[in-house]
Amino acid sequence: MKRPLSRDDARAIFATSDSSLLDVIDNLLTKGVVVSGDVVLGLAGVDLIYAQLSVLLCAADRLHAADRLHAAGEAAE
């Protein structure tokens, strides 16, 4: 089991250049990322990223559902 992130871990994440990866995910995630493949991201003390990715994957499920509806609507036209 992963240990929870300590504040020091979090600081370490934000202090490294990899924090830009967190921001890229966060920025693209704000809009909900459409997933069509596996996501593999490596980062020290990575729980925070995984927490965000789980949200991302949920968002993707919703979007895929919307896509299917959209496709069904187009097919019906």
Partner: protein, 224 residues
């Protein structure tokens, strides 16, 4: 007919040297009414990976450097030209307003770190005289408001006020990450913004600023 992958909506046409898309496809601008969309032709959605996320972001940044107003579009928006045109037409007014808000501006991201939810976050005030329905609605309202507030930033507010043009808050309340706060600032004000954040002694919480970024958090869910 091939589909278009959408990177951003733009307030004006990008410079011709804005480069290629994430698959090295040529970028082009689609005009729908007053709206411009920066798109590349693609046949299938790119898989999500660190490389493709960064590549998408790099395209958006390059575009942002050449235009005054940009609304970044989320990763993975691949659709037919006609459905893109329909979506843009249907939401033209909202998107134009959003473009006006971000014109000449960029985003800073503040992460509020701490060991637990802020003690300033007060539970909703229960009105003893109200009925259960009214109490429920009041609680829901308080919850809605709380999800969009960052009381931890109170010590920074006076200095931030002159720099911040708009704000979006996402609360996480999962220590150490308590909230992400997105601020829209004038382009070129990032150094002043960082100085305010670094000067601030926010007590039990710590705030970390990153940016400037294209205004991702201020783009409506245009194509959702």
């Amino acid at each position: 007919m091939s589909d278009v992958y959408v990177y951003a909506l733009l307030g004006d046409a990008p410079a011709p040297d804005a480069g290629a898309g994430l698959r090295e496809e040529p970028l082009r601008v689609m005009r729908v009414g007053d709206l411009l969309a920066a798109v590349g032709e693609m046949t299938e959605r790119p898989a999500v990976s660190e490389a493709t996320l960064r590549a998408h972001d790099a395209v958006v940044r390059r575009l942002a450097d050449t235009v005054d107003a940009i609304l970044p579009v989320r990763f993975g928006s691949l659709l037919t030209e006609s459905s893109l045109a329909d979506l843009l037409r249907a939401r033209a007014r909202e998107l134009s307003e959003a473009l006006a808000l971000v014109a000449g501006r960029e985003q800073m991201t503040l992460r509020v770190l701490g060991d637990g939810p802020s003690t300033d976050v007060v539970a909703s005030v229960a009105d003893e005289d109200a009925g259960p329905g009214a109490r429920y609605l009041a609680a829901r309202r308080a919850e809605w408001r709380r999800a969009r507030e960052a009381p931890e930033l109170a010590p920074l507010r006076p200095d931030l006020a002159q720099l911040v043009r708009a704000e979006r808050v996402t609360r996480h309340d999962t220590p150490p990450l308590l909230a992400s706060v997105y601020h829209l600032i004038d382009r070129g004000a990032a150094a002043a913004y960082r100085a305010v954040v670094e000067r601030a002694e926010a007590g039990a919480v710590r705030v970390v600023a990153t940016g400037p970024w294209p205004p991702y958090a201020f783009a409506p869910e245009a194509l959702g």
